[in-house]
Symmetry: C2
DNA sequence: GTCTATATGCTGATAGAC
DNA sequence: GTCTATCAGCATATAGAC
């Protein structure tokens, strides 16, 4: 983490990276600054409210980055089911290569802080809500009825996060491949509204 | 937590309870003994290796308790899909009533400790593996082909854990109802092997 | 087995020189 | 904006009387 980014950005990236592996509680301020090759003072200069504030920033920036993947990974596939399968297979490959870190800190952290860090929980809830809204809109654009699109989104997101949890715990990609395959079969047979 | 259980059992129950809400890292030894109305010395008397050891015990005992729910909740339903729907709806009701604690500490804790507590991760992996094996065997007993039974199990477990995560983050039962309903539709149309 | 007092180290956070 | 030295508090764990 000695990239030539501004200090502030290096700190946020380091926090996001550490949270993917360790979650929030197990990540110490000292680890963050070491990982970002920055002095402690700089962290409190940019983030006067300390660890909680930099965690909020890291969640927000990665949350925004991940929702952008949906169109990127699904657009190339005419059949939505094929797109979903490719999405889950890509996640499996990335996860194994990254040493079983979660893809996104939001999933790792959300359960951990849901009752102990109310402010961070609300931020995580906002990110997840916007994921659901944007992904629903994408599926509507691909021809699904709005209500069905939302249900498909919620189902797929739950399956993805759960499969990440199992993969991480078991150190196996089976859960990602199986859920991706099953969802693909489901989605390929959904009715599309006229004109798509 | 002033039940008339032996001290050792009260300590394990307190740890399991706290981990459901807070996870592992945010639960302190002081909280455990306070919640169990026991002195610190007793914890280290029964669990010489301290917090990590009592966490392992709490995970094991709740892991065993939860797999027992599968036949209890599914046996009454002739149609497997109906059983799955009832399972998820029951989980949603319990979760909301319990103030959005996770049903089982294994899910809350697994992601958090996967890279920081190798011994606990292996214990969690063992529990999850045995869930998958036992649940697969149950579905085979209900007439599914073994390979299909395993895939249904993995899919359902991933969806359940993911739906828990979303419900906890968003403080809404929507994810549990939607995933339960979707899985139910899927499972109701699976082919059964002859003779069931 | 129960309980209290305490040791040791690490935590998040701050002050102040440069 | 950068960096170091340091604070006060809490963490896990232990010692030893009862």
């Amino acid at each position: 983490m000695t990239e030539s980014l501004p200090t502030r950005d290096r700190l946020v990236a380091a926090m996001a990276d550490l949270m993917r592996f360790q979650g929030y509680g197990a990540t110490s301020v000292k680890q963050i600054v070491d990982h970002a090759s920055a002095p402690v003072g700089s962290l409190y200069h940019f983030f006067p409210q300390g660890k909680r504030q930099i965690a909020a920033d890291a969640l927000r920036s990665t949350g925004a980055a991940y929702i952008a993947l949906v169109p990127v990974l699904l657009d190339p596939h005419d059949d939505l089911g094929d797109g979903i399968r490719a999405f889950f297979d890509a996640a499996a490959e990335d996860m194994e290569r990254a040493g079983w870190a979660n893809m996104c800190p939001v999933g790792t952290v959300a359960a951990e802080i849901a009752d102990t860090e109310p402010e961070l929980r609300e931020i995580a809830a906002g990110i997840v809500s916007s994921w659901i809204d944007q992904s629903t809109a994408y599926f509507v654009g691909r021809g699904l009825d709005p209500d069905l699109a939302r249900r498909v989104t919620v189902m797929a997101l739950a399956a993805l996060e759960g499969a990440f949890l199992l993969a991480r715990t078991l150190r196996s990609t089976e859960s990602l491949h199986v859920t991706g395959e099953t969802l693909a079969g489901l989605v390929s047979h959904l009715p599309l509204t006229a004109g798509t």
